[in-house]
Subunit: 200 residues, 4 copies
DNA sequence: GGGTAAACGAGACGGTACGTCGAGTCTTGGT
DNA sequence: ACCAAGACTCGACGTACCGTCTCGTTTACCC
C-alpha cells in the first residue's frame, strides 16, 4: 500500500527517505515564502541528500504534488464525501464552508498556493495536479451530483466537472485574487447561486 | 521632450528606460518559460542596466504587474465594454468567448500565468494585481450589470464583484487547472448558467 | 600661488571644489581601507559632483598623488632639511627617526600605502609620484649629501639618488613588508650602516 | 590519485580546481592590468565556479599569495641558494643581477606588483606574503650570511633579516619607484655597498 | 545690472564585478 | 549497494562603483 516509490522506482531500501522528504516539503511550504522552499532546504530539513531527491523527482513541482497527495492520503482531505440531506444548496454550503475554513489555515493556504504556482509554471505538473488533487475532489462531489440529478435538481446537461466548477470556481477565484472576503456568508451565497445555475 | 516620468513618480528621469524594460518583460514572458524570465534577461533585452530596473521596481512581480498594466494601456483591454443587446446571457457569452480566445493566444496565456504566479507568491503583489488588472476588468462589466439589474435580470443582492465572479470564475478555474476544454461552447454554457445564478 | 587648476584648466570658478576634493580624499584614505576610498565616496564627502572630479583628474591615482602633494604643501613635510652637525650618521639618524615616527601615525601610513598602490598599478601615476613626492624628498637630502661629500664622508661615485636609497630603502622595505620592528633602534642602525656603505 | 588537498586542508576535494585557479591567476596577472584580474576573470579562465574560489580563499589577495607560492614551488625560486666563492660581494652581486633580470621580465614584474598591492591593502595578506614569499627568500641568503659571518665579513650584530634588507632593499625600492635604472651595474654597486655596510 | 555661458551639485544612466545562493551533477565515505 | 554529505560548474541574485550623461542652479563675467 504505497510503501513503494510511486512510479515503479527500484524497490529502494528507504521508504524513510521518501517520507522524510515529503514531510519536510510540507513543513517548509507551510512556514516559508515559497521561493525559499528550495530543494536544498528540503533536503537539509529531511536529513536527506539532494541526490536522493533528484533520484525520485525531476523537479520541485513534482515533489510538491506528491507531498500534497501524501498529505491527503494521511487525512482524508476535506472530511470525505458531500453530505446528503436532500437539500442540495445546504449540502454544498456545508462543504464550501469547510473549504473556506481550510483555506483560512495558513499551512493549507500556503501549500495550495505552492501547488498553483507549480501548475502555472509547468504543463506536466499541471496535469499531475489535476489527476492527483483536483480529480479526487471532483469525485467527492460526483455522488451527490448524481443523486441531485436524479432528483431533478441538476440539469442532465451539466456534467460533474462542470457542476464542480460552478460550485467551487468562485471560491477558488476569490481565494486566489482576494476580490473580497472569503467567509461563510460567501460560501452560502455561492452554494445557493450555483444550485440555481445548475438547475434544469 | 519625453523627460517626464509616469505620474510624478519619484525619480525616473528617462521614460525610455521604463518603456524598454516593460516591453522587454512582456516579450520575454511571451517567449520563455517563466523561471527564465529573469531580471538579468529583461535588462539585457531592454538594453538597460539591472540597477535601473531595481531602482524602479522592488522585485520581478511588481515589474510584471506594471508590464501588464502597460500592455493594457496600449490596447484598450479586451475590446472595451460589455455589449448591451438587451440579452444578458448573449452579451456575456460574447465577452466570455473573446476572453477564451485571448487565453488561447500563447503570449497572453503566458503573461497571465506569470501574473498569477507573482500574485500567489507575494501578498503585496496580489493586491497590485487586483487594483491594476482585475478591478479594471470588473469595472468593464459593472455598467452592463447595472443595466441588467434595473431590467430585473440580476438580483439586487448580487454586487458587481460577486456577479463578475459568477461569470468569470469558472473560465478562470478551467484555464488555470485545465479541468476540461476551454472553448466557445464552454463560454456559452457558463454565460447561460451565470445568468440564471444571478437572477432574482 | 597654485590658486589655479593644476594643468592650465579653464580658469575654473571654484578653487573650493578642488580643495574640498583633495581634503576629502586625504580624510577618507586615513579612515577607510583603501578599496573603500572610491571616487563616489570622495565626491560625497567633499560635497562635490562626481563629474567635477573627473573633470580634473583622470583616475583616482592622479587624484591621490595631488592630494599628497597638497598635504605636503601645507605642512613642510618631514620638518624641512636634514640637519648638519658634522656627524653624518647622527644627522641621518635624526631624520630616519622622524620618518619612522611619521610612518607610525596611521593616517600617514594609510596615505602612503594608498600612494604605493597607485604607483604599482599604473606607470604614469608612478612617474607622478616620483616627481611630486619622492624627488622632493631626495632634494631635502641632497644638500647634506653635498656637504658630506666634500668632507670626504661620501664616495664621489655615489649620487644623491643612490645615497638616498642606501639610507631610506631599508626603512621603506621594512615599512612595506614588516620584516621586523620599525623603530628608532632600527633607524639608528640603518643610518650607521648606510654611512659606512657610502664611505669612499 | 591527486585527490588530496594541500596540507590536510579542511575541505577541498579536487586538487584540479585549486591548481587551475592558481595557474589562471598567474596567467591573468601576467597579461592584464591588475584591476582587471578579477575573481570572475580568474574563474572563467580556470573553468571553475566563482564559489569554488570563494570556498578556498577569502579574497583575491590570499589567492594571489598562494599563486605566487605555487609558482615558487614549481620553479625552485630564484635558482636556489646564494653561491659561495668566498667573495661575499661578488656572490651577492650574482644574486642581485639575477633578481634584476627577473624583475625585468614582465610577468614576474606584474606578479610582484600585484603581490605588493595586496600586501599594502590588507594587513593579514601582508603577513602571508611575509611568511610564504619573503621569508623563504631570506632563508636562501641565511646560509651564505652565516659563512660570511664566521669569516668575519659580517658584523655579528647584523641579523639575517637586517642583512637581507641591506642587500635587497635598494633594489626593491628602485624597482617599485623607478628612481633610476635597474640594471646589472646597479646590482653590482648595491652588492658592494651592502657588504661594506654589514662589515664589522 | 542684466544676460549669458561656464561650471557646478546632484544623481540617473548602461555597465562590470562583487560575494552569495540555489540548481542539478558527481564523488567520497560510512553503514 | 545505497545513501548523507557536500564539492563541483553554472548562472541569477541584488549591490556598489565605474565613468558618462543630463538636468536645473548658481555664480562670474561682459556687455
Amino acid at each position: 500500500m504505497e510503501n513503494d516509490s510511486r512510479d515503479g522506482a527500484p524497490p529502494g531500501r528507504s521508504e524513510r527517505a521518501r517520507t522524510a522528504t515529503l514531510e519536510a516539503a510540507l513543513a517548509l511550504a507551510a512556514e516559508l515564502p515559497y521561493p525559499q522552499v528550495t530543494i536544498e532546504a528540503i533536503a537539509a530539513r529531511a536529513g536527506v541528500g539532494k541526490a536522493t531527491i533528484y533520484r525520485r523527482w525531476p523537479h520541485r513541482g513534482a515533489l510538491m504534488v506528491d507531498a500534497v497527495a501524501h498529505r491527503n492520503d494521511r487525512a482524508a482531505t476535506a472530511g470525505g464525501a458531500v453530505p446528503d440531506t436532500g437539500d442540495l444548496a445546504a449540502d454544498l454550503a456545508v462543504v464550501l464552508r469547510s473549504v473556506v475554513d481550510e483555506l483560512a489555515r495558513p499551512e493549507w493556504d500556503a501549500l495550495l498556493r505552492a501547488l498553483c504556482v507549480e501548475a502555472l509554471v509547468d504543463t506536466a505538473t499541471r496535469a499531475r495536479v489535476l489527476d492527483l488533487v483536483v480529480a479526487p475532489q471532483i469525485a467527492l462531489f460526483a455522488e451527490r451530483f448524481a443523486t441531485a440529478r436524479s432528483a431533478g435538481r441538476i440539469d442532465d446537461a451539466v456534467g460533474d466537472t462542470e457542476a464542480f466548477e460552478l460550485v467551487v470556481a468562485p471560491v477558488f477565484h476569490r481565494w486566489q485574487l482576494r476580490t473580497g472576503p472569503l467567509d461563510h456568508a460567501y460560501a452560502d451565497a455561492v452554494a445557493r447561486r450555483a444550485c440555481r445555475a445548475m438547475a434544469p
